[in-house]
């Protein structure tokens, strides 16, 4: 095969396959996706009164004792910055890891000094994406007393709310049980007034 025909082959095959896989394929997939799964394909947006207030899949930062807190987030320059997702990437021996955990522990303890239960590990560790929308049911239950107190609700009611918002393993087997922090907090707000007024 001559060099000429080799290069012609390469050019033409490349161009045509680029058209197919780089243009037709994503366009067609977008068309089908938008037709079949418009909600999912566009970021599972939460829309309230015509305003986008988040995504069910993307976590938001919470620091108020009246809200459930999510995972630590290592995104910069602020936590849960979904324009720059990132993990902490701290090695197991890195003192910064202990420092971050200690800071979270201090915050938890100052918001709820009476709680001496062991703190679930996911509350003191940063998620991989920095956008984790979930915490473990254990982490949610750990925070029930504090949230109930801050909102003047009975712990029982809050616990029930947590249980309602606990997703089991998908199809009964896949993944881990988890609680969507944003949805849980929105449900809290629907129950009592937003705590912003109290602050």
């Amino acid at each position: 095969m001559s060099m000429r025909s080799l290069i012609r082959g390469a050019l033409v095959v490349f161009t045509l396959l680029t058209l197919i896989t780089g243009v037709l394929y994503p366009l067609a997939m977008t068309g089908v996706a938008q037709a079949l799964f418009p909600q999912q394909a566009n970021g599972s947006q939460l829309v309230v009164d015509g305003q986008v207030v988040g995504s069910t899949l993307i976590g938001q930062p919470f620091a108020d004792p009246a809200y459930f807190w999510g995972r630590l987030s290592a995104t910069a320059p602020f936590a849960y910055n979904s324009a720059a997702a990132s993990g902490s990437n701290l090695g197991a021996l890195n003192p910064a890891r202990s420092a971050a955990a200690a800071a979270r522990v201090a915050a938890l303890q100052s918001a709820d000094p009476a709680n001496s239960a062991p703190i679930p590990i996911d509350l003191v560790t940063a998620s991989g994406s920095g956008l984790d929308p979930h915490i473990s049911p254990a982490a949610a239950l750990y925070q029930v007393e504090r949230v109930a107190r801050a909102r003047g609700l009975s712990p029982e009611l809050v616990r029930q709310l947590v249980e309602q918002h606990t997703e089991g393993r998908q199809l009964g087997i896949l993944g881990e049980p988890r609680v969507n922090v944003l949805l849980l907090n929105r449900a809290l707000d629907a129950l009592t007034a937003a705590p912003a007024a109290e602050r």
Binding site: M1, F37, N42, V52, A84, G87, N89, A101, P118, G175
Partner: protein, 578 residues
């Protein structure tokens, strides 16, 4: 660990192995030019491509022509990806109005995607336009995978044919891999992923109001959150299927928009190993002895299971944190426990560790958790899997052709031990074959060691290390192992988007890919000319458990012996210091 975790691991392996036979048989038909159904639908497209390209469908190539076509085609792809990045600001489909990528980063990314490595020095959502992602990276996701498959098929033909000189036609193998295997599978996976919440949209990034406003580190209040969109699902489907691994978003499949649910996670994990595993069966069919394919698959699977178990066990142990309070780290029905740093709640320990094993067993490199934050032992698992040469399933095509090279080495030593000059599948392994096999084993090892040495010896290399102590060394070693074996996975702490690392790792990826493809094709070219020696009681059987064990031994020993000293200074000592 909860019983559900074990069940999920078993379910994953079970599903994978169930898919091997049907998909493997299908691919064998595609490559052997037998009818397989889809050809009736897409044949006009295929014929059209050949007509326009002036490709003679039946004209076969010798190994040199085949290699020439591979190289020219890949060079072209590399140039196009480079150019797209450099001029994306003037091109359409750039709603975020991202500027041109810097020259060194574009160089690195172009090599990375052409070589099926998909190392990402950049962060997708902050540096690449939709067009660059689609027409540049997305296309290479298909074509680099198809290149690997074509080279593998050429090697298989080298083993299955006898006394001829040609290995097939690269254009045909490439086109058929793309049209009939990658594309249909990618369509199915895309839709499954979208149904779970993976985004697939050309809309610009969406802004959302935070429920509780927060403040930036510089003190400015933040009330809005950006929801990044884009044609992600279609690219994620092929990045997994083609063992590319380059995420649409910077944090890859840890990102909730890239991998939102445990089910999407299962689909993506299956997609990682699906084709590499099934190709083993294809290999068995094409060489006329399915047992050979099963044996290779068994060797891969056993190594995989062992590493998976190690990874899961290591990650279930939370490293000690001096946080000033007792922590609950055990697995209970209410939490996954373990080392949750860098892991997503929905995946927990089992699915994170399993992914880490699968993505580095295959040369995929996508992540759903941050390997940098793993326990030292847990982080060593993906590192070693890469250092083994990406042959435990490995990259599509490249994994199996690497494993077959190991089989040739295993056969060589074992063949001697049974008192015959060695042969694999009836082909005598002689001086030339040994030279090529040695090169294939040697190049990645040397590349990784040299790249690591260079990085630890220069200020530029040390400057962007994120972690102190031995972990910093692990970060560099991991990056070099990833680039030098075309994996693309990262200990993400290392700041790799610097001119130094972009150049160093770019060159490592280049040598690991093409310095292996050429000897592999040369090997195929030498084998195809040989006669097949009939097997008998005196020939070393290569489908028995004993041979599987031997193959595993050779893979582990070559990998382990090379990297034990380096690993001792990184993850091993780190684990001992815990």
């Amino acid at each position: 660990m909860q019983w559900q975790s074990y069940t999920q691991l078993a379910l994953y392996l079970g599903l994978l192995l169930v898919c091997v036979k049907p998909l493997g048989a299908y691919m064998a038909r595609v490559y052997s030019d037998q009818p397989f159904g889809l050809d009736r639908l897409l044949a006009p497209v295929e014929r059209g491509i050949y007509r326009l390209a002036g490709v003679e469908r039946k004209a076969e190539m010798g190994w040199k022509t085949y290699a020439g076509a591979v190289l020219v085609f890949n060079l072209l792809g590399l140039l196009v990806v480079y150019l797209l990045q450099r001029i994306q600001q003037w091109l359409p489909l750039n709603p975020a109005q991202l500027p041109a990528v810097t020259a060194d980063s574009a160089f690195n990314t172009a090599i990375s995607f052409a070589s099926n490595t998909n190392w990402q020095g950049y962060s997708g959502e902050t540096s690449l336009s939709y067009l660059t992602q689609m027409a540049g990276l997305g296309v290479q996701n298909f074509l680099s995978a198809a290149t690997g498959m074509a080279v593998l098929v050429a090697l298989i033909r080298g083993l299955s044919r006898q006394s001829v000189r040609t290995l097939g036609n690269f254009w045909v193998d490439l086109t058929r891999s793309t049209l009939y295997i990658l594309l249909p599978l990618a369509c199915v996976v895309t839709l499954l992923l979208v149904s779970q919440g993976v985004v697939q949209s050309f809309d610009p990034y969406q802004s959302a109001t935070l429920l509780q406003p927060t403040t930036s580190s510089d003190g400015t209040p933040v009330t809005q959150q950006v929801l990044p969109l884009g044609p992600a699902a279609s690219q994620i489907a092929i990045k997994q299927l083609g063992t590319n691994g380059g995420g649409f978003f910077g944090v890859n499949s840890a990102h909730p928009f890239e991998n939102p649910t445990p089910l999407s996670n299962l689909v993506e994990m299956l997609a990682i190993l699906l084709i590499p595993a099934a190709l083993c069966y294809t290999f068995g069919v094409m060489v006329g002895d399915r047992r050979q394919g099963w044996a290779v698959l068994a060797a891969m699977t056993l190594i995989f299971v062992a590493f998976m178990a190690l990874s899961v066990a290591a990650e279930q142990q939370a490293p000690p944190l001096e946080s000033g309070a007792p922590l609950a780290t055990a697995a209970t029905p209410l939490q996954a426990g373990g080392n949750m740093e860098g892991k997503e709640t929905r995946f927990g320990i089992a699915n994170s560790a399993l992914w880490a094993t699968a993505t580095t067993a295959a040369s995929n490199g996508s992540v759903n958790s941050m390997h940098d934050a793993y326990t030292p032992l847990g982080g060593m698992v993906p590192m070693v899997l890469m250092q083994l040469g990406e042959v435990v399933y490995g990259g599509v095509g490249s994994g199996l052709y690497g494993m077959l090279t190991f089989a040739i080495i295993a056969v060589f030593v074992a063949g001697l031990m049974v008192g015959r000059t060695p042969e694999y599948l009836g082909k005598k392994i002689e001086t030339f074959e040994m030279k090529m096999a040695a090169l294939i084993i040697l190049i990645p090892c040397v590349t990784v060691l040299l790249a690591t040495a260079l990085a630890v010896s220069t200020d530029a290399g040390r400057a962007t290390v994120a972690n102190p102590g031995p972990h910093g060394f692990s970060e560099i070693l991991y990056a070099a192992s990833s680039a030098g074996n075309n994996n693309g996975s990262a200990f993400a702490g290392l700041g790799a988007n610097t001119p130094f690392y972009n150049m160093l790792l770019g060159l490592a990826m280049l040598s690991a890919r093409y310095w292996l493809i050429v000897p592999t094709l040369a090997l195929a070219g030498a084998l195809v000319r040989k006669q097949r020696v009939p097997t008998g009681a005196g020939t070393l059987p290569t489908h028995t458990p004993l041979f599987v064990g031997l193959l595993i031994g050779v893979v582990l020993i070559v990998g382990a012996l090379t990297f034990i000293p380096a690993l001792a200074l990184g993850p091993i000592v780190e684990q001992l210091m815990l």
